[in-house]
């Protein structure tokens, strides 16, 4: 152990001892590694997803027959106030962030993230936010509706502390997402491997970029709105008090900026995952990498500007509603381009119908239906007819469930082998998808027709003779199917974590992007060596060059290689020895098919 001298220029790692590993769960919970944090995000968001699903089932149980008195109105309103925030803020966004946090640094060939501790902090803020909301069930849960609009959420009309915990929990979780987004944006800007230019960046990472910037913009808006609401409630504020010259409408604006952005985050994350899954399983590059990336950026910019699309019936100046309609309709172009590119990607390929593919196709179909519905509500008079009825709520749920749940499960199926080296159960996954697909379509169809009959959102009961009995009965049954599918798939994921089939090598799908270059699961430093990236499909280039070399190489008969190398040990081993270029890469680590462990 000689101290480094001027002559010794090679960097040297100096340590005072070996870090003794703690219990696995302590390691996971305290590690600042982006993969550990990503896993915590995914696991927590899936837990909240199951909670949201159960709450949704309870809400539908109350609405199964007219004038039902199974669940008291107060309890119903509490579930009503927590279920949407659980689905969107505590499940959908963090699931997207977890997948991004785990996969995107691998995709861009980074060995870590820019601010690992900030990343870790973001998770704990989110968890504390979620726990804060649910802790209120110990005393009085919030009962002020989906987005806690004042004046209903002012201290006069909602004197209980449940609303405060809703405000605090949502704000904490959102603050966490903003921290995450700052880390994400810096990581994507500064830590891309050599050759990963913006134009070559994988599409999921593109979606992540847009999501990062979106969160940096919309997150503080919601935190500000919630802070003002809290000041109004407890510190004699008059931000939203009409009696004192405040504007309740301001909160509606701010909250809808955030929730419109959240809706787009869900869509973008699913769209990014689909844009990875379809090319991989169709064995074909995405039809137009540029067009997809450009569409993501366009959606990220235009989408939040259309927030007033939700507020057509509010006392707004006519010009504002027309502007919102313009932005909402402008979204037709990027969304249409995405759908076209996805279908064109399948066209001419050989689509391997694995569970991940089915989920991706299901997500496309469902989100397309939901976005088509949104298209009609963007037209102001149709909005006046259907906003705030179950019809438009169904359409929103289409995108949330199609994106966050079915799109999220598509991404889970796709990246599960990367995360734990096992496959997420295919048969059960497809069965769960069938349940969810039937459930959501039937539910939305029924709710659409009930909305046309005039059923408003958020009611704890409806009345006999209003013509919506049959719709609600079928919708409730469909909702149970949907919830059953979600729970089945979550159980499937939990089971497969330790008992799933071992994936064939480190790249079971023959993916095109760099995360498949790493081991499964990746070692803490991700890559021993990062290959030189020269296209949008570095892994494809590597496989091609290996194939060319293998074909060019004429083996002497006596010196034929043994049929297959020994099984790879489970602990991380160096993937490659050489660092210079893709041509010199070890074939086993590259194509992943060589080391099959059945």
């Amino acid at each position: 152990m000689t101290p480094p001298t001027a002559s010794q220029v090679r960097p040297e790692v100096v340590t005072r001892g070996v870090h003794a590993p703690a219990k696995p769960w302590v390691e996971r919970a305290t590690s600042a590694d982006h993969k550990a944090v990503g896993l915590l995000y995914i696991a927590t968001s899936l837990s909240f997803l199951s909670l949201a699903a159960v709450e949704f089932a309870l809400l539908r149980l109350q609405l199964i027959v007219p004038e039902n008195s199974l669940i008291q109105p107060e309890i119903f309103n509490r579930l009503l106030s927590t279920a949407p925030v659980t689905l969107v803020v505590l499940a959908a966004i963090p699931l997207a962030l977890g997948l991004i946090g785990y996969i995107v640094p691998l995709q861009i060939g980074a060995r870590s993230v820019a601010f690992p501790r900030l990343n870790q902090l973001s998770y704990w803020l989110y968890l504390v936010g979620g726990v804060t909301i649910y802790a209120s069930f110990l005393y009085t849960a919030p009962e002020t509706g989906t987005i806690s609009l004042p004046p209903l959420s002012d201290a006069v009309f909602a004197p209980t502390n449940g609303t405060d915990s809703w405000i605090a929990g949502t704000a904490l979780a959102t603050l966490g997402f903003v921290c995450f987004a700052i880390n994400l944006v810096v990581t994507l800007n500064r830590l891309r491997a050599p050759g990963v230019a913006w134009r070559r960046m994988p599409l999921f990472a593109w979606a992540a970029t847009v999501i990062g910037w979106l969160l940096v913009v919309i997150g503080p808006v919601m935190i500000a709105a919630l802070t003002m609401l809290e000041i109004d409630r407890h510190f004699d504020g008059v931000f939203f008090d009409p009696g004192e010259g405040g504007a309740p409408l301001l909160y509606e604006h701010l909250a809808y900026i955030y929730f419109t952005g959240a809706y787009l985050i869900v869509f973008l994350a699913a769209a990014g995952a689909i844009s990875e899954i379809l090319p991989t399983f169709a064995r074909k590059p995405v039809f137009s990498h540029r067009a997809v990336a450009a569409s993501f950026v366009a959606i990220g910019i235009l989408g939040p500007l259309a927030w007033m699309q939700n507020m057509y019936e509010a006392p707004l100046n006519e010009g504002w509603t027309i502007m919102a309609m313009a932005f909402a309709l402008a979204l037709v172009v990027p969304v249409g381009v995405l759908l076209y590119v996805w279908i064109a990607t399948i066209w001419g390929g050989t689509l391997d119908l694995r569970a991940a593919t089915w989920y991706a196709l299901g997500a496309i179909s469902i989100m397309a239906c939901g976005l088509a519905g949104e298209l009609s509500y963007s037209v102001v008079p149709v909005g006046w007819l259907l906003d705030d009825t179950t019809a438009s709520q169904g359409s929103t749920l289409y995108v949330l469930v199609g994106g966050a749940v079915i799109g999220g499960f598509a991404a889970l199926h796709y990246w599960f082998p990367k995360v734990c080296g096992r496959l997420l159960g295919e048969g059960l996954g497809k069965a769960a998808l069938a349940l969810m697909f039937i459930g959501i379509n039937l539910y939305v169809l029924m709710m659409f027709m009930a909305g046309l009959e005039g059923q408003p959102v958020d009611v704890f009961q409806y009345f006999e003779g209003t013509g919506v009995d049959g719709y609600n009965l079928v919708a409730s049954l469909a909702a149970f199917l949907l919830v059953g599918g979600i729970l089945l798939e979550l159980g499937n994921a939990a089971y497969s974590w330790n008992n799933g089939l071992r994936a064939r090598g480190h790249d079971p799908w023959r993916g095109a992007t760099l995360e498949w270059f790493a081991l499964s699961p990746p070692p803490p430093h991700n890559f021993d060596a990062v290959p030189d990236v020269r296209s949008t499909e570095p892994m494809h280039d590597i496989r091609e060059s290996i194939r060319r070399r293998t074909e060019a190489f004429v083996a002497p008969a006596a010196l034929e290689r043994p049929p297959s190398p020994a099984p790879r040990p489970a602990e991380p081993v160096p993937a490659t020895a050489e660092t210079s270029a893709s041509e010199t890469t070890d074939p086993d680590a590259a194509d992943g098919g060589g080391s099959s462990v059945a």
Partner: protein, 298 residues
């Protein structure tokens, strides 16, 4: 019974909105029908293309993927046609929005038809309506000695948890004739509703007579309708307002002009009588109290 059994399933596949009985609701329904056709077309095209692609290009033995990607400008026709679609819908949307907002004059069978033609109020945005309500439109019906002589009929609808209060024109401010829950208006008459709320956010929505409008406290929102047929139309609030939200419903009873005049006259008389009773009772209650107080003083 048989008819009912048949009506059930037939009813269950309806994607028609409630029948319109007012020009603005009519325009809303028209735009709904146009857009639902577009929506169904989009859904069918996307899903059909998806299914066709999957059926045709699913993995089969011996098939090689053709690794092509879009060349430069390959998506221009797609972007162009989508832009045209968006633009056409936008223009249509703007036209229909104007159509719904534009307040029509009362018809020949309506209340005060003779005066209607001169008034002809255009649809005003909410903020302008509040400013304009004092000078241009608001005061005339309110302060007019004979409300029947003026048109359109302007009614204040005041929402509270969980009830609507409708104040009819005529009478002094604070002493106007009012009703709760059910609004009675004459047929073929333009009715302008000025909505406000005394507490939380509510919304006014009678599907047969137009679209949803929020009623917020500290703000006045204006909407209108002109019912073409006598009848009773149900409405409900679509803004979550707490425990009693499902019962936050409203009804609009459309009657003939003489019936309306009788109704208002009767309502005013009833209210006067009721107020008289209340005042008398208060006076009666006040007197013994005053007596006991004076006794106590002694």
């Amino acid at each position: 019974m048989l008819a009912l059994a048949w009506a059930g399933p037939a009813h269950a596949i309806s994607i028609a909105p409630e029948e319109a009985h007012s020009p603005n609701a009519d325009a809303i329904n028209t735009s709904y029908w146009v857009m639902i056709v577009v929506v169904i077309a989009v859904i069918v095209v996307v899903n059909a293309a998806l299914i066709a692609a999957v059926l045709r290009f699913r993995e089969r033995r011996g098939r090689e993927p053709s690794r092509f990607a879009a060349g430069r400008g390959a998506l221009r026709p797609v972007v162009g046609s989508l832009s045209v679609l968006a633009l056409v819908i936008f223009v249509y949307g703007v036209i229909m929005t104007e159509d719904v907002r534009e307040i029509e004059p009362s018809g020949p069978n309506g209340l005060g038809a003779a005066q209607t033609a001169q008034v002809g109020i255009k649809g005003l945005p909410a903020s302008a309506a509040i400013e304009g309500s004092e000078s241009a439109t608001g005061e005339e019906p309110v302060t007019g000695a004979e409300p029947t002589e003026t048109s359109p009929l302007q009614i204040d609808a005041i929402a509270q948890q969980w009830l609507w209060r409708f104040e009819y024109p005529g009478g002094q401010p604070g002493q106007r004739t009012f009703s709760y829950g059910e609004l009675v208006v004459p047929v073929d008459t333009t009715v302008i509703l000025d909505l406000t709320s005394t507490d939380v956010l509510h919304s006014w929505w009678v599907p047969a007579l137009g679209g949803q409008v929020q009623a917020a406290s500290g703000d006045v929102t204006r909407t209108w309708f002109k019912a073409d047929e006598e009848g009773r139309y149900a409405g409900r609030s679509t803004a979550f307002s707490g425990t009693g939200y499902p019962v936050m419903r409203s009804w609009v009873r459309v009657v003939s002009v003489p019936e309306y005049l009788d109704y208002v006259e009767q309502l005013t008389a009833d209210l006067r009588e009721a107020q008289g009773i209340v005042q008398r009772r208060q006076a009666e209650e006040a007197t013994p109290e005053a007596a006991t107080e004076s006794e106590g003083a002694e």
